[in-house]
């Protein structure tokens, strides 16, 4: 009996030891990852004199917290416009992406077209041609379309990375939809298009939602295109606006900078976080499976 009690105990103390070691290993990573965000958050709600004190511990409040910085953003800057612009850009980019990537992903996954694989790889290659090579020629395209200094220019260029990414994501998704349900629909008298619209699309809603999420989060990760194409304050999307408009010469409004950055950064980070595994398998699925 004594041994029967002792075994789980040593097991338990072993487990505790193992956990302690793992947590000790993880603490530096956690501090590295989270501290900057904590620091931004506390800066956003500190009163200004509280920011510039080196003689006291800066990790907590010495003057009461304040919402003044958020107030400043919405009443003294174009922050509200930037949010509206960002939402509008995301909406149109999602629409363009869905209208092109859903049919393309379906065709590549299902229809066994001659050159289909090469076309698919060709589309993926465009995801690998980075903005830094494309932004100068696209600047010419944007000015030819007379869209410079308007957020519409970003609606035109963001699909250059959302379409390839979402096409591959959806291709993988459509491959998991059983072919039988389509066949059944066609036997029941649907044409190929009918089967796609009435049977395949409804069961693909999760994949489509994922594509919309990525159209949004990938658009939010851009900085270069918006910096190169949009220089009018009211037309900027949030990341560009915060990074360029809240600095006057050499004067940084740290409180409102951090407030404006986190107010959009945190929701985007949370949503992206939830879909991160889809992102990873979307770009690396090739090697894992």
């Amino acid at each position: 009996m004594a041994t029967a009690v002792a075994v789980p105990r040593t097991h338990r103390s072993k487990e505790i030891r193992r956990h302690t070691l793992i947590y000790l290993g993880l603490i530096p990573f956690l501090i590295l990852a989270v501290f900057p965000i904590f620091w931004m958050a506390i800066t956003a709600i500190k009163q200004e004199p509280d920011l510039y004190r080196m003689d006291i511990v800066p990790f907590w409040f010495h003057l009461p917290p304040t919402w003044k910085n958020f107030d400043f953003l919405f009443h003294r800057t174009f922050y509200a416009d930037w949010i509206v612009n960002t939402m509008a850009i995301s909406f149109w980019v999602s629409a363009i992406t869905l209208l092109t990537a859903v049919p393309a992903g379906y065709a590549l996954a299902r229809l066994r077209l001659p050159f289909g694989e090469n076309l698919g790889i060709g589309i993926f290659v465009t995801y690998l041609v980075p903005a830094i090579i494309l932004f100068i020629p696209l600047a010419r395209v944007v000015s030819t379309l007379e869209l410079q200094d308007s957020w519409w220019s970003l609606v035109v260029v963001y699909p250059t990375f959302t379409i390839p990414f979402c096409t591959w994501l959806l291709m993988g998704f459509f491959k998991t939809v059983p072919f039988e349900i389509e066949e059944a629909a066609m036997v029941d008298g649907c044409g190929q298009l009918g089967a796609l619209c009435r049977v395949v699309l409804p069961v693909s809603v999760p994949g489509i939602i994922t594509s919309v999420i990525f159209s949004f989060t990938l658009s939010m990760q851009d900085f270069l295109y918006s910096l190169a194409f949009v220089s009018i304050s009211e037309q900027k999307p949030v990341p560009l606006g915060v990074a360029t408009e809240l600095i006057r010469g050499d004067v940084y409004f740290w409180g409102s900078l951090m407030a404006g950055a986190l107010l959009v950064g945190v929701p985007v980070a949370i949503v992206y976080n939830l879909f991160l595994d889809k992102f990873i398998s979307g770009i690396t699925g090739a090697a894992i499976k």
Binding site: M54, L111, P137, R140, P159, A243, A261
Partner: protein, 302 residues
């Protein structure tokens, strides 16, 4: 007999190509043609103002190769990409092996450590700019309290973004901060795809941990590590926001990289042709990464 264009196969092809057409057209028009157009621009004297450009041959490339700034930017780009890449690989591997263990709170920890990668880069760089502040840096506060540096104004007070070597190290550090969770998650996905039976079998056969690691795990995760590194290289080489927002290439060119140089010449100064030439010098650096990714894709296809 049906004419060939009415046969089921022909109709399927027609249907398929119609579905593919919008996506193919979009990326051809806005990625493929602009890429070719950038080759043309790089060989012209195009500027933002002048609609008509003249062909100047390799003049822009020659001008770039003759300017000392270009070599500084090229060297910094290489140091930045390789140095930060190695750091991301090391930190990512350590984190991946930690996250591979089963422990309580694993999901929460994972969600927290990937924040640097998921938060928009332009947003988090602003936080770093504040943490690297020349006078009120929280990093310096901590170092000073630990007694590692003197008070503000003392000669060993680091001005992170103001001293050449420190500035390059700082922008690389922010890139590592952003990229290590990506390396870790990609590796984790690769490691979890190694079937435990394989590792157990090796253990039964008497393989030590290092042998198991070298003979079983490394070959199995090598392809995924390759893919992760290749993607990360593409992201890193093409990102200008960290350097642009933290130092804009300064102090005195110490952090100038090809992306910021291309932006400053092409857009700021409006010399589209010369800017396009500079940005095209990134292409040979990107090419190995692109080839790695394409070969893995091909392998999956066949």
């Amino acid at each position: 007999m049906l004419p060939w264009w009415r046969t089921p196969t022909a109709r399927r092809y027609l249907f398929g190509y119609t579905l593919l057409a919008p996506a193919v057209l979009y990326v051809t028009l806005l990625v493929g043609l602009p890429f070719l157009f950038s080759l043309y621009l790089a060989m012209s004297d195009a500027t933002v103002g002048a609609p008509v450009a003249e062909f100047v041959g390799v003049e822009n490339f020659r001008a770039a190769l003759e300017s000392p700034t270009f070599y500084v930017a090229l060297r910094n780009t290489l140091v930045f990409t390789v140095g930060a890449g190695i750091m991301k690989g090391l930190l990512g591997t350590m984190l991946a092996f930690l996250l591979l263990q089963p422990f309580k709170g694993r999901k929460v920890v994972r969600a927290l450590v990937v924040i640097p990668f998921t938060i928009p880069i332009a947003v988090s760089v602003l936080g770093w700019k504040w943490m690297f502040d020349s006078q009120f840096s929280v990093i310096n506060w901590a170092l000073s309290r630990l007694g590692l540096i003197g008070a503000w104004g003392s000669p060993d007070w680091p001005v992170w973004l103001g001293q050449p070597h420190l500035a390059l190290a700082s922008v690389m550090f922010v890139n590592v901060w952003r990229g290590f969770p990506f390396s870790a998650i990609v590796l984790l996905a690769g490691l979890t795809s190694v079937p435990p039976e394989v590792i157990d079998a090796a253990r039964v056969d008497g393989a030590t941990f290092m042998q198991r690691f070298r003979i079983v795990i490394v070959p199995m995760i090598a392809p995924i590590l390759f893919i992760g590194t290749a993607f990360d290289t593409v992201f890193t080489l093409s990102d200008l926001s960290i350097v642009y927002l933290l130092t804009n290439g300064g102090p005195d060119g110490a952090t100038e990289i090809l992306p910021t140089l291309a932006y400053n010449i092409g857009i700021r100064a409006g010399a589209l042709g010369r800017g396009a030439a500079v940005s095209l010098f990134l292409f040979p650096l990107l090419l190995p990464a692109i080839i790695v990714l394409l070969r893995t894709l091909r392998r999956r296809q066949y």
